[in-house]
């Protein structure tokens, strides 16, 4: 078990900069998500950590030992591939045994370790099956057992749940988290699914165009995004743009928005405010003077989407559409076309430098 340090890693393919000066510290035993849209460099970064590809510059260390020029087979990592990559010509047990067997471990040790790994992923009785006789979820578990049986220093997962259907995916998220806790292995997990990143990981690194945009615990990134991209990519956010006032921004129409979290932007500079849809209150009444909900905007409901436990309102205001999510508490529902007042707290408003 070991932590992973990535320091100033860059990698280009021709003119395309796949990774541009990325530095992340993955602490020992943590569960990390690398989140980003396709082409953001998250898979490239994972492949650098795995050792399938070497960086043009920068340093990668596993457990304090520099590995940036060490090929994958000597890095002692475990990896789960997107499509599982189980060996079709081998039984489930032989698949799991592969890593121990190429190391030349004695047969008896292999058998015990394989059984233990299969028990851990709750497939103890399926060792004799062939991969094609298994369901998607079972294959996923075999791939995981195969990756951890060699006691790797770090576990790398490349969109491991992408091929599963929604219900199974949620089960596997819980399962994966349980196994990771049980063996306490440093885990780095690539995904484009923000929900998966939020629910599973201790820390998230958001990548965009080969750069690390923000890194931190999910709550911190969600509550205090440092860029419009981070705000909108991890969860939903309403972005209001204007000029910084020192304590918030002034919108083009003169309305001021107070923000008590986020960056400090000198007055007069361009800045934006991000506010989560569930933090906004929507009402038909007059503006309140409640200082806790000091930010106020007037608008008109353009659309309402009912989703059972909540409703999403799209509110038109000064040429911009704001999104508001309201828990369904049985109170009056607003009709489309209705004029409304939106209020929210400066505490829920994050100031972002443009």
């Amino acid at each position: 078990m070991a932590g992973v340090q990535v320091a100033n890693v860059s990698r280009s393919f021709g003119a395309h900069k796949a990774l541009d000066d990325v530095s992340i510290d993955f602490a020992d035993g943590g569960f990390y998500a690398l989140l980003g849209p396709s082409g953001s460099g998250k898979t490239t970064l994972l492949r650098q950590i795995a050792g399938f590809d070497f960086p043009d510059s920068g340093r990668i260390a596993i457990g304090g030992e520099s590995v940036e020029r060490v090929p994958v087979e000597k890095r002692r990592i475990g990896m789960v591939f997107q499509n599982y990559a189980l060996f079709p010509n081998m039984s489930v047990a032989d698949n799991v045994a592969f890593g121990l067997s190429v190391r030349g471990e004695p047969k008896a040790t292999i058998a015990t370790e394989v059984q233990r790994a299969l028990d851990l992923v709750q497939l103890g009785k399926l060792g004799g099956r062939r991969p094609h006789q298994l369901s998607g979820g079972q294959r996923q578990r075999v791939a995981l057992a195969r990756a951890i049986v060699t006691k790797p220093r770090v576990l790398l997962l490349d969109e491991p749940l992408g091929a599963l259907d929604k219900a199974l995916r949620v089960d596997m998220q819980i399962e994966l988290k349980r196994i990771q806790r049980e063996i306490g292995i440093t885990t780095i997990f690539v995904t484009h699914d923000q929900e998966e990143a939020l629910t599973m990981s201790d820390r998230i690194g958001i990548l965009r165009d080969g750069r690390l945009v923000q890194e931190g615990p999910p709550e911190e990134i969600y509550d205090r995004p440092q860029s419009e991209f981070a705000a909108t990519f991890l969860g939903d956010a309403n972005i209001l743009r204007g000029d910084a006032t020192g304590s918030g921004i002034k919108l083009p129409d003169g309305t001021t928005i107070a923000a008590s979290t986020g960056a400090s932007v000198p007055a007069g500079a361009k800045a934006s405010c991000a506010v989560r849809p569930e933090r906004i209150r929507i009402s038909t009444g007059a503006t309140t003077s409640d200082p806790a909900n000091a930010n106020t905007l007037k608008g008109r409901v353009s659309k309402r989407i009912f989703a059972g436990n909540n409703s999403t309102y799209f509110v038109e205001r000064d040429g911009q559409t704001l999104k508001v999510i309201v828990q369904n508490t049985g109170t009056e529902r607003l009709a489309e076309g209705q004029p409304v007042v939106l209020t929210w707290s400066p505490d829920s408003t994050v100031l972002i430098a443009a």
Partner: protein, 262 residues
């Protein structure tokens, strides 16, 4: 319904015709190898004399052994080299790769007569000359493209993540190839090997150009024998070859389902 039945009937008739066209000459030849008359005279009179006299025909037997030996060595060399070449073409990107791959196909299309002439001239020029070694060299060159094409086709169905997964588990290049890649392409390698064997064992033109009177292969010897005067011994040796090669094919087909999932 009626039309379907007519079409089905036509289809069956067509298959019978096709099979007859393919196998009737062979069956007649096999039957005649057991017929007493050397001039194909009927009524049929059972005899194994031709097989007995075949046993006495040292020249024909020597040529048969030459053929078998050359075919086996050709198969081994071209299967190993061809599979290695296919793996290299699959794994690595290098300059001129496309050109090299395109160069693989013409030898299959160039008439053997021309290839044979070219080889004869070349081998004389470089001092290899004629003989069994020259024949072997020629056969390997002819069989290689077949092996590469067949094995490469199989490799197209191979998922590259399997090699990556094996490496991530600590396997070195040799272990990856022997334990993951080779088992997957094995049906292709066996099919390629069969092709190589057939190309060599059936080869007449190139062997004819490169053989010397004492050292020759079975097809060349059969041709020489027919020119001297046809004997039913040829029927006998042909029948043995057909039985053995069909048995080999059936065995291989039984153990390896070509093209499908293994």
């Amino acid at each position: 319904m009626a039309t379907t039945r007519i079409l089905e009937g036509l289809g069956r008739f067509y298959i019978v015709l096709l099979l007859g066209f393919l196998y009737l000459p062979i069956i007649i030849m096999a039957a005649m190898s057991f017929n007493a008359s050397p001039f194909y005279q009927l009524p049929f009179e059972w005899t194994t004399d031709w097989y007995a006299s075949l046993w006495q025909n040292d020249q024909l037997i020597a040529a048969t052994w030459n053929s078998i030996e050359i075919a086996i060595i050709t198969t081994l060399i071209s299967t190993v080299l061809g599979s290695m070449a296919s793996l290299a073409l699959y794994r690595y990107e290098f300059r001129g790769k496309k050109f090299l791959q395109a160069l693989l196909f013409p030898p299959i299309a160039i008439p053997w007569l021309i290839t044979g002439t070219a080889m004869l001239i070349f081998f004389f020029g470089v001092g290899i000359g004629r003989g069994l070694a020259a024949i072997l060299l020629g056969h390997v060159a002819l069989a290689l493209p077949y092996v590469i094409v067949v094995v490469s086709a199989r490799l197209q169905t191979f998922a590259p993540e399997l090699e990556e997964a094996a490496r991530s588990l600590g396997a070195n290049q040799w272990q990856v190839t022997m334990r993951v890649t080779l088992p997957w392409i094995m049906p292709g390698v066996i099919a390629g090997g069969l092709f190589a064997f057939a190309v060599s064992f059936d080869q007449f033109v190139v062997s004819y150009f490169l053989s010397t009177p004492g050292q020759t292969t079975l097809p060349v010897e059969i041709y020489a024998a027919i020119r001297k005067g046809f004997t039913p011994e040829i029927n006998a040796v042909s029948t043995i070859i057909i039985v053995v090669s069909m048995a080999l094919m059936l065995l291989t087909a039984r153990f390896f389902k070509f093209g499908g999932e293994k």
